[in-house]
């Protein structure tokens, strides 16, 4: 349970960090390390070089404006979670963050780090996907914005190039007449969920005009399903059941030591109904 040897650099500027990455194809970026260090300790990963970006200036921001929330690469989950402006502009972000591991892990782990780790069992990649956000990365060619639809390309795989560093994530603001909700079920609070669902529902009066849900731990990449058609404008037992079936067509729950595939599918159905209903009610009240 000890990492394999690696070279360690802790650059003071983004340029130096990019040079360090460019010089070593086997290099890996270390930010919070709450997912990376266990992988190293279990020797599931053994990069030749770790580029520790914790000293880079100007990357620990949480900036909130009317159009959304911008989270810098060194903003810890805990800092994003306790920012009251984040909750006001995009309440789904703190709803999900409260379920990211335990408080102790959130003190060190970074939200952007979780996004580029690209784990389909993690909350924030799914939330970024559901909100249709984006990720800004900097590489030798300069800065580019990756829309989330192009970010997640495979299990634990993002479209970042090895010589790029993710510097900022953008979570769009909550739209008018729209509600959000999040719920997950785990064996113990703070563990990886057996299934988790988030929903975004937009209404006109009592009518649902747009609804989508994001799923974690029931597919191998962060997955979002458009439920607008299945709900057909209303929230009822029948429309919610239709929505859950529509979602399951695009999910692929698997059996592991924590839960069977059938049980995960059951959770996806139950949580879809629960979370879509909650998001609908929040949209009608125009609060969360």
């Amino acid at each position: 349970m000890k990492p394999a040897p690696f070279d360690y650099v802790r650059p003071g500027t983004l340029e130096e960090a990019l040079q360090a990455l460019a010089g070593h194809p086997e290099a890996k970026v270390l930010a919070g390390g709450q997912s990376l260090v266990p992988l190293l300790s279990m020797r599931l990963a053994a990069p030749a070089v770790l580029v520790d970006i914790n000293d880079l200036p100007g990357l620990d921001h949480v900036r909130v404006s009317a159009d959304g929330v911008r989270v810098g690469a060194l903003a810890r989950h805990a800092a994003v979670l306790r920012d009251p402006d984040v909750a006001r502009v995009q309440p789904l972000v703190p709803l999900a963050l409260a379920n990211v591991a335990h408080a102790t892990i959130r003190n060190r782990g970074t939200t952007v780090g979780s996004l580029v780790h690209a784990d389909a069992a993690a909350e924030m990649p799914m939330v970024l996907r559901l909100l249709d956000g984006s990720l800004d990365v900097v590489g030798p060619g300069g800065r580019r914005t990756i829309p989330v639809a192009e970010l997640y390309v495979g299990p634990l795989e993002s479209s970042l190039h090895h010589d790029e560093i993710a510097v900022e994530a953008f979570f769009p603001a909550l739209a008018p007449h729209t509600g959000v909700a999040f719920e997950e079920i785990a064996r113990r609070h703070g563990d990886y969920a057996m299934c988790g669902v988030a929903a975004v529902v937009t209404v006109e009066g009592d009518r649902v005009v747009k609804a989508s849900a994001g799923y974690l731990s029931v597919s191998d990449i962060p997955t979002v399903v458009d439920l607008t058609e299945a709900l057909d404008g209303s929230i009822s037992d029948a429309s919610l059941a239709a929505a859950a079936e529509a979602a399951l067509e695009q999910l692929d729950p698997e059996t592991d030591i924590h839960a069977t595939a059938d049980y995960r599918a059951h959770l996806a159905r139950v949580l879809t109904a629960r979370v879509v209903t909650a998001a609908y009610e929040n949209a009608r009240e125009e609060k969360a």
């Binding site: 349970m1 000890k2 990492p3 394999a4 040897p5 690696f6 070279d7 360690y8 802790r10 270390l30 390390g33 709450q34 260090v37 266990p38 190293l40 300790s41 279990m42 770790l50 520790d52 914790n54 805990a78 591991a101 335990h102 408080a103 102790t104 892990i105 003190n107 060190r108 113990r188 609070h189 703070g190």
Partner: protein, 167 residues
């Protein structure tokens, strides 16, 4: 076999500056125990699940098994050894664990003590639910947690009366 490169680091632990030469892969938990001889920090799972190795980094609880010692340089680390009072008597959280029988074998205790020290600094009067939430990231296989939750509330009470006494 090439010799592994080491880094000269300064670690500020419990207000004392330590120097050590460590390879980059040295976990903070191992540096505390093996390089500095501070064996109060316990190592359970070594992948961030059990919480036994929790220390305070600039006052915030973090897993010392999920940080490298080289990354911890320049930060103020507090371990269980730093939680007693200046006169050597038990600190409020330690005292509460003794009074409430909050430990049996004691292996997980250092991680609970550091976590709760930071927890009651942030929330000086936790409800029982908040106390449970505070320790949710720490595993204990002996106590069943009932007395640990009691100890959180008692520690908060002791810390508050310390504050009143100081005021």
């Amino acid at each position: 076999m090439s010799t592994e490169q080491t880094h000269e680091i300064r670690l500020n632990v419990n207000g004392v500056e330590h120097q050590a030469a460590v390879p980059a892969r040295r976990l903070l938990s191992d540096a505390l125990r093996h390089d500095l001889g501070l064996t109060g920090t316990h190592v359970g799972c070594e992948h961030g699940v059990c919480g036994a190795c929790t220390v305070l980094v600039d006052g915030q609880p973090m897993r010392s098994c999920l940080m490298f010692a080289v990354s911890a340089a320049g930060h103020e680390i507090t371990t269980v050894e730093g939680l007693s009072r200046p006169d050597g008597e038990l600190g409020p959280v330690q005292q509460a664990f003794r009074e409430c029988h909050g430990l049996q074998c004691g292996f997980c205790t250092p991680g609970f003590l550091t976590t709760i020290t930071a927890g009651i600094a942030e929330n000086p009067d936790p409800t029982e639910d908040e106390a449970r939430d505070m320790v949710a990231g720490n595993l204990c296989r002996c106590t069943g947690y009932q007395n640990i939750v009691k100890a959180v509330c008692r520690a908060a009470e002791l810390a508050r009366s310390d504050e009143d006494g100081a005021a």
